[in-house]
């Protein structure tokens, strides 16, 4: 028995004394909900049915009945085990549930110290513009005053992401393509069995997946807010086919947070899920984890994958190159957006960029609203 010490009452995960069986089970289901599991009323009902079926004689049976009815993904298993341990004193031995599928070891690398080129003195003001708003579009977001930043936030609503498309498997009516047997037969029937026009159909157009990997490490900290806002607009334009991860010392899946419609609330929620703001970067490792846990299983296949990073990778450069090569062999297109790319005097000499560039289809800028628009164009055309 690996009975965790019950977290005394922290999430209501210890059982009150003197309850009947039904109360205990219902209370356990609620404790699971309190621990963040997706326990809905119908799940609770199924759980009680399952317990009635397996009987309450064996604790292990109750454990499995609960796990089958109250959890919905391997990420839920850790919390489930904790609550179960608290309520029933331990989980069965052969339930080797891990908190979630294994993650790379997260060794904190030191913060970026010598801040090289990302001092915000390279602001390029393009003076040939009319209004202040227009000027703002071209300013580097890293060097904005708080007031300008607020103004820029409002301008994010003017971005219009257009999801890239691919040919789907389904068909729509059209004037070319292949014969649509069903429609043709139906048309014949409407005509009292007289043959009429042949109906045609062609493959419909579907949305292509987009994956954004947003670097939130120390050297990118002045861009992280803007980039996540950009990611938010992309997610809003195609919630079902867009996925967003943040990259720092580890990889964090933040799509769910960014599906929230209101940008400020979405960013807050994303901020709460990301554990490694402004730390070091382990780009190569993060891409590898992405490929292993999501990419190769399908998320990256045929998708447009966008890396938003300055490429300040210190270690394991061959690894980064190798992972980018793998990524490209899966993805439809790999786009790299670098906030320094659009600035005067920039040359792609950061070691990370040098290693990754051979495996990138489009290398674009990404430091101002105008360059974000260009990036969205690149994505739409992919």
């Amino acid at each position: 028995m690996s009975a965790d010490a019950p977290d005394a009452g922290a999430d209501g995960s210890t059982r009150p004394e003197g309850w009947g069986a039904g109360q205990v089970l219902a209370g356990f289901a609620r404790a699971c909900r309190g621990a963040g599991l997706p326990v809905t009323a119908d799940r609770e009902r199924t759980f009680l049915q399952a317990c009635a079926a397996v009987g309450l004689g064996e604790q292990a049976r109750v454990y499995w009945a609960g796990r089958a009815t109250l959890t919905a993904s391997p990420a839920d298993l850790g919390a489930y085990d904790r609550v179960f341990g608290g309520w029933f004193g331990g989980v069965p031995l052969d339930a080797v549930s891990r908190e979630e599928p294994p993650r790379p070891t997260t060794v904190q690398s030191p913060l970026e110290d010598g801040r090289g080129e990302d001092d915000a003195d390279g602001q390029e003001m393009l003076h040939a513009l009319a209004s202040a708003q227009e000027v703002l579009r071209y300013r580097d977001v890293a060097g904005l005053s708080p007031a300008d930043r607020a103004a820029l936030r409002r301008q994010f609503t003017t971005l219009r992401p257009r999801p890239p498309t691919r040919r789907g498997r389904r068909h729509t009516r059209s004037r070319r393509g292949e014969v649509d047997g069903r429609a043709t037969v139906r048309a014949h029937l409407r005509n009292l069995g007289e043959p009429t026009r042949i109906r045609w159909r062609e493959q419909a157009v579907r949305r292509r997946g987009v994956v954004l990997l947003v670097d939130v490490s120390g050297s990118m900290s002045s861009y992280a807010d803007a980039l996540l806002r950009l990611a938010h607009t992309v997610v809003q334009s195609a919630p079902a086919s867009t996925e967003v991860f943040t990259v720092g010392t580890r990889l964090t899946h933040v799509t769910r947070a960014l599906r929230e419609r209101d940008p400020d609330r979405a960013l807050l929620a994303a901020g709460e899920t990301v554990p490694d703001w402004s730390g070091g970067t382990r780009l190569g490792e993060a891409v590898e984890v992405f490929l292993r846990r999501w990419g190769r299983r399908g998320m990256a296949r045929g998708a447009v994958v966008v890396v938003l990073s300055d490429g300040w990778e210190r270690q394991a450069l061959e690894a980064l190159g190798e992972q980018m090569r793998r990524l490209r062999s899966l993805a439809h297109r790999v786009v790299w957006a670098n906030p320094h790319r659009g600035k005067a005097g920039y040359a792609p000499v950061q070691a990370g960029i040098v290693a990754a560039l051979p495996h990138v289809d489009d290398f674009v800028a990404g430091h101002s609203l105008a360059t974000f628009e260009e990036l969205l164009d690149v994505i739409a055309r992919a």
Binding site: A72, H188, L192, P195, R206, A240
Partner: protein, 298 residues
Amino acid sequence: MHADALTSPDTLSAALAETAYLADDGLATVTWLAHTLQRPLLLEGEPGTGKTALAEAIAQLLDVPLIRLQCYEGIEASQALYDWDFPRQILHLRAVEALAQEATAGQRVEELEAELFDERFLQARPVLRALREAPCVLLVDEIDRADDEFEAFLLEVLSTWSVSIPELGVVAADTPPFVVLTSNRTRELHDALKRRCLYHWIEHPGLERELAIVRARLPQVEETLAREVVTLVQQVRDDESLVKPPGVAETLDWVRALAALGRSRLDPEVAAATMGAAVKYREDAERVRVALDRMLAG
């Protein structure tokens, strides 16, 4: 079919073992519950952990047909349910036309319609077949590769166990088929579908269980060979840097390959020659070779 196979999780586990499928306590309990509560069973886990094999084993022990629906990107309801044989329908139309004399038009259309959308032109696809042929096991493989619309359609079928075909009426299952859905987690399934199902996450088995699986599936193979291969695979599988960790299915393939060559021990040459049965990436083969040298040296 054993009369008592489904009286409790333990008897189910024993009956599964007789079909050479070794389920741990958790999986046996969940499978038994799915059968008892008549709920679909949703299995998630790495490829090669025995999700599809479980559906086959259940069909075998219940002695009912296994109907399989392989999902893919863009699969539509018509590919899962039914379709009409259009070319034959058109032929039929033309034939009727050629023979038609002077029937009144109104009657003709109705007759024609009844003739055209008759059972003989219907092509039943897996889900419809499962509803008609129940009791049976319906395996919906890799549901994560289908899209949202298809998931919604499937949810509807799994909730009512019936579909309505406009031309033929409602087809309902007398006894719900035992439904197994598998997913490799390429995307998150909708919560509505998950709520309808019993959920189980399958892990790779530990060394002893995997060895037992190999021995059960391949009784003719020598114990030493099975043990060596399983030990090696277990070591390699824990290696975080593997591109594609081998599943139990791959272990079995490898043991089969070695046994076919008449080997009873693993040695570097023959392992290198047959490794392709278990690892499918050049980088992984390199790591397996290193692990093998370590194992043989140890």
